[in-house]
């Protein structure tokens, strides 16, 4: 939004002029966040997601209602709060979107290429994954985040995620920790949570996926990983790859125990 960009200087100057202390600013921004959280358009995406969950699709013309998200076929209540976790049928750790991809291919008989052609939508046209994520995540509201960590493959996934988090790579030598490894710093005006520390990861992870007001889009953790890699100037991570799942797993384990409070609303 160009309009807003132009406003930056003026806003900043005004902030300086009133001599607002950093604390007051933080308090006011928190009030802003609380106010917008009260009426989140995320619910509109939940409605779309419910329709998609129940809609027969693919060569087998069946819905996703028999999809097992980890707590039994078709069980949605609390399912999101247990992800990522190991799935025996696929013999790998999966996050929500990767599991949905699995169900779409196995239950509905659809080609993964067709499903992942457009995994991230636009404000005008959300993707299937986004709407489904909104619908499914909403049914874990109020439950504690308990991603899998007891099985060897779950431990391996968590360890891999942590190692990727600190890997310096890409054209600009960044790791995830380049931005998310230092307390009290920000990019432009955006505060950066230190995501390998539980106290910072908890409130952040407990509100993903989320409606993003700056783009009017519903965004998922697969999208968040993808766009961070883009800004790190690396090649693109494949949707549902072990790399993205391991990172999401690492972040979610770091936030474990937090009460899920999404789908959230982000700047």
């Amino acid at each position: 939004m160009k309009l807003v960009a132009i406003a930056v200087t003026a806003a900043a100057a005004a902030l300086l002029a009133v001599g607002a202390s950093a604390q007051d600013t933080a308090k006011e921004i928190q009030r802003y966040r609380d106010m917008i959280a009260e009426g989140s358009p995320a619910e509109l995406f939940e409605l779309d997601g419910e329709t998609l969950w129940k809609k027969p699709q693919g060569p087998k013309n069946v819905s996703l209602e028999k999809c097992d998200l980890g707590v039994g076929p078709g069980v949605l209540k609390g399912a999101y709060a247990t992800l990522p976790r190991y799935f025996k049928d696929a013999d790998r750790v999966m996050d929500l979107e990767t599991r949905l991809l699995y169900c779409m291919t196995t239950l509905q008989g659809r080609a993964p290429e067709e499903i992942t052609k457009r995994p991230f939508g636009s404000a005008d046209k959300p993707s299937e994954m986004e709407s489904l994520s909104a619908y499914i995540a909403a049914q874990s509201k109020g439950m504690k985040l308990e991603p899998g960590l007891s099985l060897p493959k779950e431990k391996g996934s968590f360890e891999l995620g942590r190692a990727i988090f600190f890997q310096r790579t890409g054209a600009w030598d960044f790791s995830c920790a380049s931005c998310h490894g230092q307390e009290g710093v920000r990019i432009r005006m955006q505060d950066l949570p230190v995501l390998y520390k539980p106290q910072f990861a908890r409130p952040v992870i407990a509100t993903w996926p989320a409606y993003r007001v700056s783009t009017s889009q519903f965004v998922t953790l697969q999208w968040r990983m993808n766009d961070c890699f883009r800004q790190m100037r690396t090649p693109e991570p494949t949707f549902g790859s072990e790399t993205t799942v391991a990172l999401i797993h690492f972040l979610t384990v770091t936030a474990q125990g937090e009460t899920y409070n999404g789908p959230g609303i982000k700047r």
């Binding site: 939004m1 309009l3 807003v4 960009a5 132009i6 406003a7 930056v8 003026a10 806003a11 900043a12 005004a14 902030l15 607002a20 600013t25 006011e28 921004i29 009030r31 802003y32 966040r33 106010m35 917008i36 009260e38 009426g39 920000r186 990019i187 432009r188 005006m189 955006q190 505060d191 007001v213 700056s214 009017s216 800004q231 700047r267």
Partner: protein, 145 residues
């Protein structure tokens, strides 16, 4: 705007003709106005008095101008309309809510605020106008890429 239409608008404003649709119509002149003053003039509003009974809840700092929440409630007896004007927006008039028997003069909405600006909220009660003004500052975050 042609003269016939201007005359018709004038007639509506004077209340000489009140077709059912009049209230529900969209006030093109007021919404197309490029200054807060012109917008208010087109709504027939003059001499709005500051009032403590017109409560406006709005964050002082908005992280994103695309969504700025505004909550308004009026305890001024006989409030029949609430109006929102954002001075620095390209088209300052944001909305006009008319309340009839059965509704309380309360509304919460999200507006786009282009840059740091005064936000004026007006109430109409028994043919008089009241106003509360708040400033909202707009910042930006993120990688900017």
């Amino acid at each position: 705007m042609n003269s016939i239409r201007r005359a018709l608008v004038a007639v509506f404003v004077l209340g000489l003709v009140r077709p059912l649709a009049a209230l529900a119509a969209w006030n093109k002149e007021a919404f197309s106005a490029k200054s807060a003053g012109d917008a208010l003039k087109n709504l027939g509003i003059a001499n709005a008095q500051p009032s403590k009974d017109l409560t406006v809840e709005i964050p002082e700092i908005a992280e994103n101008g695309a969504v700025v929440p505004i909550e308004i409630s009026s305890t001024i007896p006989g409030t029949t309309a609430l109006i929102v004007v954002i001075d620095k927006n390209p088209f300052p008039l944001i909305t006009r809510f008319d309340f009839k028997e059965g509704a309380l003069p309360f509304v919460k909405l999200n507006a786009k605020v282009g840059e740091t600006s005064d936000v004026r909220v007006l109430a109409e009660a028994a043919g008089k106008y009241y106003v509360t003004t708040r400033e909202v500052k707009v910042t930006i975050g993120g990688c900017g890429g």
